[in-house]
Structure formats: C-alpha cells, structure tokens
C-alpha cells in the first residue's frame, strides 16, 4: 500500500514536472452554464461576455506570458449534468478556475467539488443567497466560491422596497417556479417582506414548462393582490404575464432580475411593458467603459435588434474574468490557493462594466456586488431601461462593504 502511494506520488511529480515544463501552455479556465433551454440566454450572453474579455486579454499578451483557453461546457441547467461537467473540468481538463452557473441549484451541487479540489470557482450569474455560504469557517478554513452577481438577499430587498415603500403596494402575491432558484428566492422575499411587516396575501408556484397559469393567478386575484412579485425564469414569467392579460387583470409585476431576459420580453410582448426588476447592468452607454463594452459586444455577436439577450449576464461574465485575471496576475501562478488568496486581497483596481472593483473580496466576504450597486430596470418598448432617471444619471456606484 505504502509502496503504491509512493509510486503514485512519483508519478504525480513526474506529470506535474512535465506540465510545468511547457510554460507556454495555455491557462485553462472552465465555463459551465446552460447553453440550452429556458436559461440559455443567461448562459450564452455570459459566455460571450467572457469570450470578449479573454480575447482582449490574449491580444494584450495573455496572463503570465500564457494565453487563456476557455473550456466551455453546457450544464443544461440540470443539477446532475452540472456535477458531471464539474468532474470533467476538474479531473480531465485540469482547469485553473471555473466561471459560470446561471442556476442556483447547479451552482449548489457543483461548487463542492471545487472546494474539495481547492480550485477557485466564480459564480457570475446564479443569485441564490446560499451559493457562497456553503463552506464557511470554522468547518472550512477557506472558501473557494466567489460571486459577482447580486445575490437574492439584495434583490429581494430591492423588490420589496420598490413595491411596498416606493409604490405603496402592500397587498402582494408571490409567484415562483418550483426550482431551487424559485423556492429559495421566495424565502428571501418572505424575509424581506416580514422586515417591512408585510405578509404576502398569496404564495403560488408553478413548474418549468407549465402552459396554464389560471389557477395561480386566480388565487392571487381572489386574495386581493395589488402587485405580483416573481421569482422564476423567462418563458414561465411570460406565461404569467400573458395569463394576467387573459384574465383581464392588470397589476404591477415586479420581480427578480430574470424579468429582463429576452425570452420573457419577446414571449410576453406588450404585456412585458412596465415590468420592473433589479439590474446590475442596463444596456445603456452611460460610462466610457460601458460604451466600449456594448459596442464591442454588438460588433462581435450582432444580437437581434442590437439587444443583448441578457445584458446583466454578459456584463457580469466580462467582469468575472477580469477579476480572475487580476488575481492570477497578482498571485503570479495558477495555483488554486494562491489565486484564492489573491482574490481575497486584490490590490489592482479592476475597471469593470458593472462597477470599478476596489478590494471586492476579503477572506470572509465573497460577494463583489453590494446592495447599493443594482438599480431598478423597467421594460419599455421591448428594451430594459432605467426606471428612475436619477439612477441613469448617476451610473458609477462603488461597492460599499
């Protein structure tokens, strides 16, 4: 047994030696996200944002003298598929770090393996509050899960603030899908409502691919709801909006950031008008960095009508690789623990699309997006725009930890 172990150690050392011998080998970074199904606009926009940043980095000479190579895998928004992809990325592709996850469930199921392998994993879309909270001290001395998306705790608070405080709609119904995302988001909404002393008049759920929302909407309507708060993804949200029209019942729809997805806006058509949601990024060139990003994205991928399918995902994808690259540069190596340590004490000021990141993470804080960064977006004429003019005029919102 000991001899076997010794032998395998030698083998590992030999392999490691042969790997490091080729210093010009590309740095492999995994991308795991849904490229198919209802969540695909998020995954694809994010991937394109990442590719845009990688092209810029590689053109400028790469990282540590090496080029970045992306290993893209479709996790199909399925938890079990995400785990499969994860194992492939870690054990077969030997990635240095992984970016992605549009779905909270997939992120929760997959990040464990990176934690065990001591490889940093960067959640740049999925917003479930617990994603970065799974591996905390004292049980786990170091946490390898980072995020640059507005987690649900922030979003739920903003949704409730918008509905209850700004618009004085106190009788609200929660409609969510029955995935991890929808159910956890509903919990966050309940908490945020309770903090304002409000109890939802109805809480209804539905399944992915449900085509009829009559029962859910009628229950909300009968309970006297003045607004609908949602936690679901594009296609089903569109069925909710279309269902309201069918019942001839129109109340404001306010929900998580997924209400900005192209497949919600297209499928709901005119019914998407006026819908509001928290956004970390709105496709509006109100800073030089954003202007350059939007122009480069539209030029490279030519999205229909010049509208990025999920602008938030594209921007966060772009920023996530910038943050990671800065950490690798600072660490001077592609060693997992060294990158993690560099991320937790990032010295470089990273000029991203969403914001300018100054010390975005620390050992105990792995959320780059703070409560003051997201703004409220509104759908107008098929585009997501700023709901409040003062937020549009005041684009640069720095993190407040």
């Amino acid at each position: 047994m000991t001899r076997l172990r010794a032998l395998s150690l030698v083998l590992c050392a030999a392999l490691g030696g042969s790997l490091s011998a080729h210093a010009a080998d590309p740095i492999k970074i995994g991308v795991s996200a849904p490229f198919t199904g209802g969540s695909s606009p998020m995954g694809l926009s994010m991937r394109d944002g990442v590719k845009l940043a990688v092209a810029e980095i590689n053109k400028a000479g790469g990282l540590l003298g090496r080029q970045i190579q992306l290993v893209e895998r479709d996790d199909e928004a399925k938890n079990e598929r995400g785990v499969q992809v994860t194992q492939e990325l870690i054990n077969k592709e030997h990635v240095v770090a992984t970016l992605g996850y549009a779905n909270t469930g997939v992120a929760l199921a997959s990040t464990r393996f990176y934690q065990e392998a001591k490889i940093p994993v960067f959640d740049n879309i999925a917003t479930g509050s617990s994603v970065t909270q799974q591996f905390l001290p004292p049980e786990f001395p170091d946490n390898y899960v980072f995020r640059n998306a507005a987690y649900d705790g922030i979003q739920a608070h903003m949704i409730v603030e918008e509905a209850v405080v700004r618009r004085k709609l106190t009788k609200v119904a929660i409609l969510n899908d029955d995935t991890n995302y929808g159910m956890l988001g509903r919990g966050d909404l309940e908490k945020a409502l309770a903090a304002k002393g409000v109890k939802p008049v109805a809480e209804e759920k539905f399944k992915i691919k449900d085509v009829d929302m009559t029962a859910q909407l009628l229950r909300a309507k009968e309970a006297g709801a003045e607004a609908i708060l949602t936690y679901a993804i594009g296609p089903e949200l569109a069925q909710v909006a279309n269902g309201m029209k069918k019942l001839g019942w129109k109340v404001p729809m306010i929900g998580s950031w997924t209400l900005s997805m192209g497949n919600f806006i297209d499928n709901a058509g005119a019914e998407s008008e006026g819908v509001r949601m928290p956004q970390t990024f709105i496709q509006e060139p109100n800073t030089p960095k954003r202007k350059a990003f939007i122009e480069a994205y539209v030029k490279a991928y030519n999205p229909p009508n010049g509208r990025i399918a999920s602008p938030v995902s594209a921007a966060q994808g772009y920023d996530s690789i910038l943050l990671l690259a800065a950490a690798i540069r600072q660490a001077g190596s592609t060693d997992g623990p060294a990158i993690r340590a560099a991320l937790e004490n990032l010295k470089e000021k990273v000029d991203g699309v969403v914001t300018v990141y100054e010390h975005p993470f620390s050992h105990d804080n792995h959320e780059a997006i703070t409560a003051n960064i997201p703004v409220i977006g509104e759908v107008r004429g098929g585009h997501v725009v700023y709901a409040y003019e003062e937020e549009r005029k005041n684009p640069l919102r720095l993190e407040k930890h």
Binding site: T36, K209, D212, A215
Partner: protein, 296 residues
C-alpha cells in the same frame, strides 16, 4: 361562480390541447399495436415549421396562418412516414414486442436535437392569427385562440372519423385495426395501411402544433412535457376511443386547474396522476376503451 366557470373554461382549453396530441397516439395503436413515443416531437416540428412559414424567424412571413396549415400537414405526414419506415417497420417485421418503444423514443430525441440546431434552443413567440384580446362572458374570460384549439381539435377528430367510416381507404384502416391478419388475407396491403396511420398520426400532431403554438410557447422542448401529459390522457381515455381522449383530456385539464385553485398550486398534477393509476387498476383499457382479449 365566475371563478368556477373560469377554471372550467381554462381546464377545458388545456384539456383539449392534451386531447389533440393524445389523438395521434390512437391511430397508430389501432392499426399496428404500436405507439410513436416521439409524438411530442412531431408536434414540436409541426409548430416550428409553421413558425418558419408564418412567422418572421426565417425572413418571412411567407404565408399567412391559414395558408400555412396545408404545407405543415404535408410535412407532418412525411415525418410520420419516416418514423414508421425507420423506427417501427423493422420492429414489426421481426415481431419484436418492444423494439419500437426504444426506437421511437430515440428518433424523438434525434428530432429534438435537429430542431435545436435548426431553430435554436430558445422559446419563441408564435404570432396569433386571431385577436389576442380575451372574450368575456359571465365573468369568465377566454382567448379566441383557445376557442380555435377546441374547434380545430373537434373538427380534426370528426374529419378522421368520417374518413374511416365513409371512404374505402378508411375502411381498410378499420379492417386492419380489427384484425390485421384477416385484413391481409382479404387483399388489404396492411403494411401500407400502417405507414398511412403513422402519416396520419404525425399529421394530426403537426396540426396540433400549429394550433396550440400561439397559446403556449414554441421551441424545441415544447413537445416533451405535453407529449407525456397527452400519453396519460390517451391511457385514461382509452387507446382506441376518439371520444375517450376528449373526455380524458378535459378531465385532466379541469382536474389540474381546479386542484390548483381550491387545494394548492403545488398539488396541481396530483389528481391527474391519481386518476391515471385508478383507471389502470380498475379499467386498464381506459374509460372508453374496448377490452381486447389477447390469445396466446
């Protein structure tokens, strides 16, 4: 009262969507004792071909909604012939009891992947040929398109029934359905009849696709969940009864909406499945199915 009416109307509209898909399972089961488990995919292909012709996604619209229907029907029939030739005929020839199950499922997956590559993976809106403003009566509302689904489904079923009873070709189908060997001895080309029944089955599915697409969403994955629900409806109603699928569909649709409202939206799908189990244990041939005695 208005609420109950609304739930009933929505349930019926939903149920007719299931019924119109379930109808496709029947025609092949009657003639060959086999089913196309890719029925949901046949529906999806019909809807997407229809969308390419009548929508703007491939540079159209080339045809308006009504003119688009005949080409979609022809496409559906051809697709059904492919399914029969590739997946079912070899299994029937070798008298394989279950080979067709796997091969129709496999073909369905292939069709879905092809559709994902041709039309993309996202859900797309299908332009409605009728006004999208709901009609109101007695406090309940219903979309004109939902009425069209009900009317279209019924017309289609009546059409097939009349064809079977009145035309000589239909009689060949009925004869093959009641006894394939005897029909063969009487000079009926039964394998051609089976091919025809597959063409008919996929044609109804394609028609169902363009009929329901404006109310649901259109995309490569639209058929999977609906195909399964429709299969449950076909079992509840009986695999050899046209009336059965209508009643089964409406039962399932109404059960879903009323349970969703009166019990909890979390339990929406439970009564339908309980009904399925009940039917299977009490009357396995379905509510309106004829019991067949299998001699061995």
């Amino acid at each position: 009262m208005a609420i109950l009416l609304q739930l009933l109307l929505s349930g019926i509209a939903l149920g007719m969507i299931y019924a119109v898909i379930a109808f496709g399972y029947q025609s092949t089961f009657a003639t060959s004792g086999t089913l196309n488990f890719g029925q949901g995919e046949a529906l999806m292909l019909g809807a997407l071909v229809g969308l390419s012709l009548a929508g703007t996604i491939s540079g159209g619209p080339y045809l308006n909604y009504w003119v688009m229907i005949p080409p979609v029907l022809i496409f559906g029939a051809l697709q059904g012939i492919v399914v029969e030739r590739v997946a079912v005929r070899p299994a029937i020839k070798t008298r394989s009891e279950f080979g067709w199950i796997m091969s129709t499922i496999a073909l369905g997956i292939i069709f879905r992947n092809v559709a994902e590559n041709v039309w993309g993976r996202d859900d797309l809106p299908f332009p409605s040929p009728l006004p999208t403003e709901p009609l109101h009566f007695l406090g309940a509302s219903v979309l004109p398109m939902e009425l069209l689904v009900v009317v279209g489904a019924l017309l289609m079923m009546v059409g097939v029934e009349v064809f079977n009873r009145r035309s000589i070709y239909g009689k060949a189908v009925v004869a093959t359905a009641s006894d394939r060997d005897a029909a063969g001895l009487m000079g009926i080309n039964t394998s051609l009849v089976i091919t025809f029944s597959y063409a008919l089955s996929s044609m109804t599915a394609a028609f169902a696709g363009v009929l329901i697409a404006p109310v649901t969403l259109t995309g490569a994955s639209m058929g999977t969940a609906l195909g399964l629900k429709a299969f449950a409806v076909a079992i509840i109603g009986g695999l050899n009864s046209g009336l059965g699928v209508v009643v089964g569909g409406i039962l399932l649709g109404v059960a879903e909406t009323t349970t969703g409202f009166y019990v909890s939206t979390g339990y929406k799908d439970v009564p339908g499945l309980v009904l399925l189990l009940l039917v299977l244990s009490v009357k396995p041939s379905g509510l309106f199915g004829k019991t067949t005695i299998k001699k061995v």
